[in-house]
Symmetry: C2
């Protein structure tokens, strides 16, 4: 159900996924905030055609979808799967997107910018993501004229994206840093060197399930490669700290950690009602147990997928109808028992 999460990436004991996102705009059309309906349609057609009529192998298996032709539930499912952004939902009349068959690439149209393309890969694969994203950018640029300034670089709707228009981010799972109480110090240090930390669903969301998104803040004045290198180095340091914290826990509190992991698995396998918040907490503990070598009877890919499929819209999509919170909590428990 979450195709892009399939397969194991590097450093997957800590890194869930890597994402590269590029913001681009057409030179001759207002930014989406100021766009007319006609201009929005024109940008949509031009971007869509640039992909669908290209001969590149990279863009062969894309599907085009307009937001207004998709139910609200389906839109939210896509957001929960990280395939489209929450911001795109704010413009349902003009928003659309192209999605690759393997779900690893999305090209959103008329989000905050005319074009927001993203590559999403499991594990720590920033360079690979950038390479693919850059090539898709080339395909688009062959046919489209971007808003570009010789001095500033790519022009974007929000000044924070001007320059490379790139946001590179890595989703890391840091349960041991949370348990040992050192997470805040680590995240503060990350912020001080110009990176941003967010929760599972971006800006303003809390760190559910001990998942943190680390991304670059600055898009101007540095090359994409430099930005990625810097981010990767910081992530490698965080990975190192998390691994040391796990080792420390195993040395000093082995039984307590085992207790936490097995209890979490026991509750997940038994509960008849479970909130997404509790589910995320318990799934995080089980994931930690797998990654620390405490349990091996559970498939980690399944846990990673559940972290997305237990979200409210996904639960409703599975039930094929709208559900109250109480009904969702029951269906969520059913799904988890079935998968584990």
């Amino acid at each position: 159900m979450v195709k892009w999460l399939e397969g194991k990436g590097p450093e997957s004991d800590i890194v869930v996924s890597s994402r590269i996102r590029l913001a681009r705009n057409l030179e001759d059309i207002n930014f989406p905030q100021m766009i007319t309906k006609e201009a929005a349609e024109s940008s949509t057609q031009r971007i869509k055609d640039a992909i669908l009529s290209s001969n590149s192998v990279l863009t062969r298996e894309f599907e085009f979808k307009r937001l207004r032709e998709i139910s609200e539930l389906d839109r939210n499912v896509l957001v929960e799967k990280h395939l489209i952004s929450h911001t795109l939902l704010e413009r349902p009349q003009i928003g659309s997107f192209l999605l690759s068959k393997d779900e690893k690439v999305t090209i959103m149209i008329n989000e905050e910018d005319h074009i927001r393309m993203q590559v999403l890969l499991p594990g720590l694969r920033l360079e690979e993501g950038w390479d693919l994203c850059s090539k898709i950018d080339d395909v688009l640029e062959e046919r489209l004229k971007y808003a570009f300034d010789e001095k500033l670089g790519y022009l974007t709707s929000c000044p924070t994206n001007v320059g490379t228009g790139m946001r590179a981010s890595v989703m890391v799972h840091l349960p041991a840093l949370v348990l040992t109480g050192t997470i805040n110090k680590v995240l503060q240090a990350v912020t001080q060197i110009g990176l941003t930390v967010r929760g599972l669903y971006g800006e303003g969301t809390n760190a559910m399930g001990n998942l943190f998104q680390i991304s670059n803040q600055i898009t101007l004045g540095e090359s994409e490669e430099k930005i990625i290198e810097k981010l990767k180095n910081v992530v490698l340091q965080i990975i190192n700290k998390e691994r040391k914290a796990r080792e420390k826990l195993l040395n000093s509190n082995k039984v307590q950690i085992e207790d936490k992991v097995y209890r979490s698995l026991g509750i997940l396998k038994s509960a008849r009602i479970i909130s997404s918040k509790e589910a995320m907490k318990l799934l995080s503990n089980v994931k930690m147990g797998i990654d620390m070598g405490i349990i091996d009877e559970v498939d980690k890919e399944e846990i990673n997928k559940l972290m997305i499929t237990v979200q409210p819209a996904n639960i409703q999509k599975r039930a094929m109808k709208e559900l109250t919170q109480f009904e969702r909590d029951i269906k969520r428990a059913e799904l988890i028992r079935e998968k584990l």
Copy 2:
């Protein structure tokens, strides 16, 4: 490991056990509080002989034990199993007891009174308990001269036992009355009609695992049969209230109850560290689940036994050594996983 709990008694969905206890004293020896060492030895020998040299089938398989010959751990194990009283431990130099092979009958010597005999049966079996206890009393009275007053009845060390010297008590499991918040009203009513409510381990202990001991307060001015009839009637009313509360819960909160029961079982089967307090709470939930027909994969006798064998001294006895609290919590979790 807890023989007396074996076999299913009447009303066993709510009543764990019934107990009849008689207090008796020898006419010519001071009460144990004021007794000399020599007199204590004399009372011990006379009571022991009265049982062991009797021809009655009832007293054939008794074993005699002196407290001072038993380790402190073993003494506490016996208390936790309800086979001897906590009060007996206060006089380790003079206290002893006779225990029947099936563990259903104990005759304590030099507890608060010279003789404290008890019959312990699973389920609601007060009359049967009284019948057996009375017969053992007859065996003793054949050979011993009791302190007895024509007007008052049997004389005892504490005035609250004078008269019949009998305490009849029933251990009931009332999770639904606790869950629906009506337990206090019920227990208040019980107290107002002259009965006493205590926790699992008697006076001053809280109601662990939703277990309550209901017993008669008054021993004077009423016949044993009358006291038992009154107690039984009240217990039957409480049983009725608990059954109605369970029905109500099943009608209005079925999924929530199922969730509570299955989660409790899941945690019991998974935990690596567990306190006796938490274990009792979870075992109580599972017991409720069995008695309400929610689960049937667990043997209730096993749950009833665990409610005793998870207690601290029993855990240490099983490990065959003294343990710290942390070590007990680990061994307790092991025991529970093994049994479930």
